[in-house]
Amino acid sequence: MSEKILETKNLTVNFDGFKALNQLNFSMDVGELRVVIGANGAGKTTFLDAITGKVQPTQGKALFQGKDLRGLSEHGIALGGIGRKFQTPRVYLNLTVRENLDLACNRHKNVFSTLFGRSSSSERRTVAGLLETIDLVAKAELSAELLSHGEKQRLEIGMLVAQSPELLLVDEPVAGLTDEETASVAELLLALAESHSIMVIEHDMEFVRQIARQVTVLHEGAVLCEGSMEEVQNDPRVIEVYLGEPPERDRELPSVG
């Protein structure tokens, strides 16, 4: 059991009678790269909210490395080792790329060590290494508002890694990117997957095919099915949910959901 990085048990989130998550049981191994897909309103983002402490579950619980996450604050969970990337790039526009990474990289995040501390040489090395990983060395001293959409996405993923989390939660990292940028993000995530556990939420089937090993399909706040991309694609329930038609009519998923 201790090998599970993330586990949810009967996780339910109830918004005034609407169950965004309904008895969701999910588990993920250490070192896994998992893709979660699902139609609009399937509860994907609420799922992340419930894990990262933005929303408290009405029932059930989420366990991270066996520890219950209920009642912890967002920053507490982040410090505990879960990094979250938002759907749209959320970087500090008025700071430079390097400063963005440096803030995320800070090992001691309480007030006074942030005030009196300076970035250590190991932190500076981490930042320099990350700049290469996300391919933004040339733009390190530019303020982040001058980056393109795709560069911001990469920067935010870099900031996530700078936190040195055990688990990365990545919400739609390729929304609004060109094919080329999508491919570079896919490459980045695959490289990171070698040393991190990653959960990616995505709509873009082409992208999912590029990175997916294990796929979970959410539907109406619960897990519909799980398996390899191949299996999931041919599952009649998935096809029905996606297309709203009987399975014998069509066997292809839409390429962009």
């Binding site: 500090y92 320099a128 959409h149």
Partner: protein, 385 residues
């Protein structure tokens, strides 16, 4: 690659040290001018005005710290200003009076209220000038920030708090002389009458290094990691939260510091204007403080100082010549700054300066259509709670 980066770092460090040195020299020159040249050049009355406005510039620095850098628009800094002023005025009253300060007898009070007692001590009063306002600000800030009250709601709450304090101080004749306030110009300290020209010169000279110390403090706070975190809080608080920082702690600290700064400004202003009364907690005055910073330029520090000086000298001049025009002028100034110079005079100068250096206007290479993506906007709003 690494070698290149380290060369870049060294170069940047040297450059930063040079700018810092130049800034230090400039500050010293200005300080010497203010301390030695101004008293010789200006009449006592003008010098007193300058001293008062320099005290207000201290307050403006505190406002810039929380508004310009951290994005917290406080409309209630009059509270902290007045608390600082009262702390010093209480000490001066006790020092001069034999037994009870005069006004107490008017209301039939025969024993000194308990909270006046420690103000017999000069060191206590000096500490209280800073600590009382910053503790009040810290407590208020903690309660508000913990509940994630932000933006306009935060501003409204600060103004409401200001009204509460204003009414309380107005109503308490038996405790702190109510509407009449506490006078300081006839009091004595170390054998000098506060209101005498000699006393006023001392307070003027004292204001200058305190302004510089406050400036240095703000410069230190806004540079380095802490300063970048303040900017990050202003730009995207939930990103900060999900990066593992606790925004409440940072905002509480910076709000408390800003309150303490306002207290120092309030105390220096009080001794140079001769009185502190609940009028310092009128709504308009606290809004004026914000206007100084808006005019000078947010998140520039120097802009706050210049804004406080310019607006207040304009106020003195205009309300001398055309007393009925001043409020209209203030309103017009605010509109002008908001519509034409949203970054204030200094911010405008800086951005123009950057353009001239590059020889062209800078191009922004983001996809503007994505910037205005309604879905993105909605997500931002949703995650902001």
């Amino acid at each position: 690659m690494t070698a290149e980066t380290s060369i870049g770092t060294v170069g940047r460090k040297r450059q930063r040290r040079q700018t810092l040195l130049m800034e230090g020299v400039a500050v010293v020159v200005i300080a010497l001018l203010l301390i030695f040249a101004m008293p010789a050049l200006l009449s006592g009355f003008r010098l007193n005005l300058l001293g008062r406005f320099l005290a207000l510039a201290i307050v403006a620095l505190g406002i810039d710290l929380i508004w310009g850098y951290t994005g917290l628009l406080s409309l209630g800094h009059g509270i902290f200003f007045a608390l600082g002023g009262y702390a010093l005025a209480m000490h001066l009253q006790l020092r001069t009076a034999e037994g009870l300060p005069d006004f107490f007898t008017l209301y039939g009070v025969e024993e000194l209220p308990w909270f006046w007692q420690p103000f017999h001590s000069f060191p206590f009063a000096v500490v209280a000038v800073i600590l009382v306002p910053s503790l009040v600000a810290g407590l208020f800030g903690y309660l508000v920030f913990r509940n994630r009250i932000r933006g306009v709601y935060f501003s409204i709450l600060t103004q409401a708090a200001l009204l509460v304090f204003f009414n309380f101080f107005n109503g308490q004749q038996e405790l702190i002389n109510g509407t009449n306030g506490l006078k300081t110009d006839t009091t004595e300290i170390f054998g000098v009458t506060v209101g005498s020209s000699q006393g006023q010169l001392v307070f003027y000279v004292l204001t200058v290094p305190l302004l510089i110390a406050t400036y240095a403090l703000c410069r230190w706070l806004t540079s380095g990691r802490f300063g970048r975190l303040l900017i990050a809080l202003r730009d995207d608080e939930s990103r900060v939260r999900f990066s593992g920082y606790n925004p409440t702690a940072f905002k509480t600290l910076v709000f408390a510091v800003s309150g303490g700064i306002a207290g120092v400004g309030g105390a220096l202003y009080t001794v140079q204007s001769g009185i502190i009364s609940p009028a310092a907690m009128e709504i308009a005055f606290s809004i004026e403080m914000v206007i100084w910073v808006a005019v000078g330029g947010r998140a520039t520090l120097i802009g706050g100082i210049l804004g406080a000086l310019v607006v207040n000298f304009a106020k003195t001049f205009l309300s001398d010549q055309y007393p009925e025009v001043w409020l209209f002028f203030l309103g017009a100034l605010f509109l002008l700054v908001v519509t034409i110079l949203p970054e204030g005079v200094l911010g405008w100068l800086r951005s123009q300066g950057v353009k001239q250096m590059l020889g062209k206007s800078k191009k922004v290479s983001t996809y503007s259509s994505l910037e205005q993506n309604p879905e993105e906007e909605r997500e931002r709003e949703n995650t902001e709670n």
